[in-house]
Symmetry: C2
Subunit: 251 residues, 2 copies
DNA sequence: CGGTTTTTTGAAAGGGCTCAAGATCCGTGG
DNA sequence: CCACGGATCTTGAGCCCTTTCAAAAAACCG
């Protein structure tokens, strides 16, 4: 939906931040050569399994989660089209979390070594990837703050605002509404709440007129009010490229 | 304490993971040219301020935290000697969190641009820095899981185990005890609990014989039991360097 | 259309918080 | 070296948000 047909989501996403050279695009396209389709609820990578590949999300939503001994689950990250899955996990050979499809969709797997080429050949692209990993961490920081110090309403509001902000990065035309293919149970696993309580809180938000949900599409009617509730500031969801190495540096 | 005298903490830390070339060391030493001392409770960088520098921790403990509108605080990361502060925040020009000294200590500031040189000149070092950022994210993922799905006892146990694991990275001789220069209030801000409740939980852990605290030094008497409580697995706290670019690739 | 998944609703229990106040520790100045 | 004031640690009691458990309604899928 956000990406049109064959165009590379990855190129589209990275192209938002810096002007890509033909060579950069070639490097990136190499990562997306093959696609793999998944059905909703399918397991992409098992928790604790070896990490062979990273993925670029082409279509659909995915998420990473870990399960505790007692069966409780924590969703670590929700991935939307254009996102890179597993970038931070290349550091270890065994995955700390599993990856699953939240909706039907397709991924483009590529080997860890794919990054090596980029590191070796394009310092500028390297800086960008490094920054994107940093951005992901900022998202995580926000969520940590939510789970640590915010009430259920704030956590849900934040999650919705984050998702919207991230969808807008990949598709500037995203308004205030988007398809939300996530179970309330899953939202709970992401926010540290019970699916049941997520339900009650969302009803509450609807009653206040802050959100509307219909046919799987959610609309944030009053973004400002939600930001207030979630103590949310999306100015961080952009990247400072001023310090990046310049184009022609490589080779 | 962990680093002896003039030796570079940074070189010591990175040297754990890969064999550094003379050139790599030179690049790194350039980052640590100047030092700056801080007293306990001092503010290193204000929340919302411009991000000019990153830091290498030479001595002492530091932490990053953000404050919400109502005054509640969340500690995002605790830094020990050898750590890099702010690596993930280079992505934006304004900081999302403030940095403070948890004990007396000293930092070596360096400009964002310092990374550019590394990216341009040493793909291998680049891969390592990228991996360390990833490792930090794994630490965060664990904490997210703790705040989302674990009881107070588990959160505290996890924090202690994490700290120990990270101290061991920089100093392999660290046994089961370390100086813990953190207020219970601060531990609370890190785990999403009240200082008061942290107090009660730690007493509980002491009563169970899992930890002992004396003169600011904490000892984990039964690491296995703590791991059980915190669902902790430190096998992730190491780095897979197998995919790194090889030494001589640069220039 | 039947089974499974997801959403709703209600009532009761619990973990952690708040508020308040006393005890300790510690750095600083005289 | 001692005294003082602020920071930190303790302890107690009542309250509140969220969870649990159970079960019904609704939506979805093949």
């Amino acid at each position: 939906m956000t990406a049109q047909g064959d165009a590379s989501c990855l190129v589209a996403k990275l192209g938002h931040y810096i002007k890509l050279t033909a060579r950069d695009e070639a490097l990136l396209h190499r990562l997306e050569e093959q696609g793999r389709d998944y059905r909703r609820r399918a397991c992409v990578r098992r928790e604790g399994g070896r990490i062979e590949d990273l993925f670029v999300v082409r279509t659909g939503w995915f998420y990473s989660a870990s399960t505790m001994a007692d069966g409780r689950r924590q969703v670590h990250h929700i991935y939307v089209p254009g996102d890179l899955i597993g970038t931070h996990e290349i550091v270890c050979s065994v995955s700390t979390s599993g990856v699953y499809a939240a909706s039907d969709g397709s991924l483009c797997p590529f080997e860890k070594a794919g990054l090596r080429e980029i590191f070796a050949e394009s310092p500028r692209l390297t800086a960008l990837l490094y920054s994107i990993a940093g951005l992901e961490q900022i998202v995580l920081d926000d969520r940590l703050r939510a789970l640590g110090r915010m009430t259920a309403e704030g956590r849900i509001a934040q999650l919705l605002l984050q998702l919207l902000a991230r969808l807008r990065i990949n598709d500037r035309d995203t308004g205030n509404r988007f398809r939300l293919p996530l179970t309330q149970e899953l939202l709970g696993d992401a926010t540290g709440l019970t699916g049941i309580h997520v339900n009650r809180v969302m009803q509450q938000l609807k009653k206040k007129g802050l959100i509307v949900q219909k046919d799987g599409v959610i609309e944030l009617k009053d973004e400002d009010a939600l930001c207030e509730i979630a103590d949310f500031d999306n100015r961080y969801y952009d990247i400072d490229t001023s310090w990046f190495p310049h184009q022609a540096m490589a080779v």
